[in-house]
Amino acid sequence: MINVDPITYLYTVLLLSMAVNLGIALYGIFYRPSLIKKIIALTIFSDTANTFAIIIGYTRWASPSKPVQPPVLTKLNVTRQDITEFASNAVDPLPQALVLTAIVIGLAVTLFLVFLTLQIYRLYKTTDVREIARLRG
């Protein structure tokens, strides 16, 4: 009656829950009045974007007894056949390298935002954006 591949269904559940995470984090950045809550929502947003990139690099297994491998070679005296078998059995390494750079840059921006929030509190004595907008003019 209903014939749906269970693996495709579960993969769609994962992708859709990441998309809903993205939506909730964007709502948190726009509609919550506290500066600290905005910083927390920004970190959730950037982590979810990195997860999307890593999900793209995963592949199906070749057969139920030969699972996919992480991109690390485990033997040091290799033959040519070892190398071709490793290249057809491993996960994509390029998104992982780009996500590493993205995590570091997100961390640097968040540290700087924390110091700016501290300075705003010392000057205006509040972290509520509506009060700050009212005080300025």
């Binding site: 209903i2 749906v4 591949d5 495709t8 269904y9 993969y11 769609t12 559940v13 992708l15 859709l16 829950s17 809903v20 690099g57 995963y58 592949t59 199906r60 992480p70 991109p71 690390v72 070679l73 485990t74 040091l76 290799v78 040519r80 190398i83 071709t84 490793f86 290249a87 057809s88 491993a90 996960v91 994509d92 390494p93 390029l94 992982q96 390298a97 590493l100 750079t101 570091v104 840059i105 961390l107 640097a108 921006v109 540290l111 700087f112 924390v114 110091f115 700016l116 501290l118 300075q119 010392r122």
Partner: protein, 273 residues
């Protein structure tokens, strides 16, 4: 409380049923994919390939070889961005000092049980961080991973003992700034090392080069006394770990100055004008 439970149930039901609709209707192509892309297969087969010495990196860990050799300039600029963020934070907190302690230093902090357990685990944390960083070309790990783990140790000492204890041990802001500058200088020098070797022997060479390439037949050795060090990758990991751990320690030292000291010093400066 009731409103939140209803919200959670609605969102979970929405995700499970909507994905059933999408999977039934068909997406037009197979998800997830069956084989990796061509560029991934190329990177996987030339990262450690003793039969093709012109293009290989001689490091069995493919992600580290992409980060420091195939796309090394990306990582250089990422390190520069991190450095600028730390410098911005130091500028925003310039001229602030913390007042000397009022009681004896041993009476600050948490209880005796916590302090004894922390003394044992701090050594283990630093040993594991060094192992992750220096084996980055053989196992998963690398410079940034080891530096982030090594920055947890000063944070623990700061919270459990006190800030005055940490400064008595010699971990001050200026010392950490000096260690960070040595790490960044090391990264710059390692990037230029093969170019200098090529300059002094009269051969063609490039910046950020690791192994010999067609048209530029110099490079650093990939084995040292029988152990694999993969040319410039080991030195990059070592200097990056020093730079990252020192940078995080500076941020924690600046954030832990007590607030009433800061407000006093800001008021004194405002009164002077």
């Amino acid at each position: 409380m009731n409103g939140r439970i209803i919200g959670i149930v609605v969102i979970v039901l929405f995700i499970t049923l909507f994905s059933l609709v999408i999977a039934l209707g068909g997406l037009g192509y197979d998800l997830p994919m069956e084989r990796v892309r061509l560029i991934a297969r190329t990177y996987l087969s030339i990262a450690y390939n003793p039969f093709n010495r012109n293009y290989t990196v001689m490091s069995p860990e493919v992600v580290t070889s992409i980060v420091w050799d195939f796309r090394g300039l990306d990582t250089l600029f990422e390190t520069v961005v991190f450095y600028l963020a730390i410098i911005g934070s130091v500028v925003l907190a310039r001229g602030l000092k913390s007042s000397p302690p009022e009681k004896k230093i041993e009476s600050y902090g948490l209880s005796l049980i916590v302090k004894t357990v922390t003394r044992i685990t701090i050594g283990m944390i630093i040993a594991i961080a060094a192992s992750i960083a220096l084996h980055g070309h053989l196992t998963p790990g690398g410079g940034f991973q080891g530096g982030a783990v090594a920055a947890i140790a000063p944070l623990l000492v700061l919270v459990i003992f006190s800030r005055y204890y940490l400064e008595n041990l010699g971990v001050k802001k200026n010392v950490m700034l000096a260690i960070r500058s040595i790490g960044l200088l090391g990264i710059g020098l390692t990037g230029f090392s093969v170019l200098l070797i090529g300059l002094f022997s009269g051969v063609n060479a490039y910046v950020f080069q690791n192994q010999p390439k067609p048209g530029a037949p110099v490079g650093l050795p990939y084995k040292f006394n029988g152990a694999l060090i993969s040319g410039t990758l080991w030195f990059f990991n070592l200097f990056e770990m020093m730079a990252v751990a020192a940078g995080f320690t500076i941020v924690f030292l600046l954030l832990s100055i007590p607030e009433r000291d800061v407000l006093e010093q800001l008021k004194e400066e405002a009164d002077k004008h």
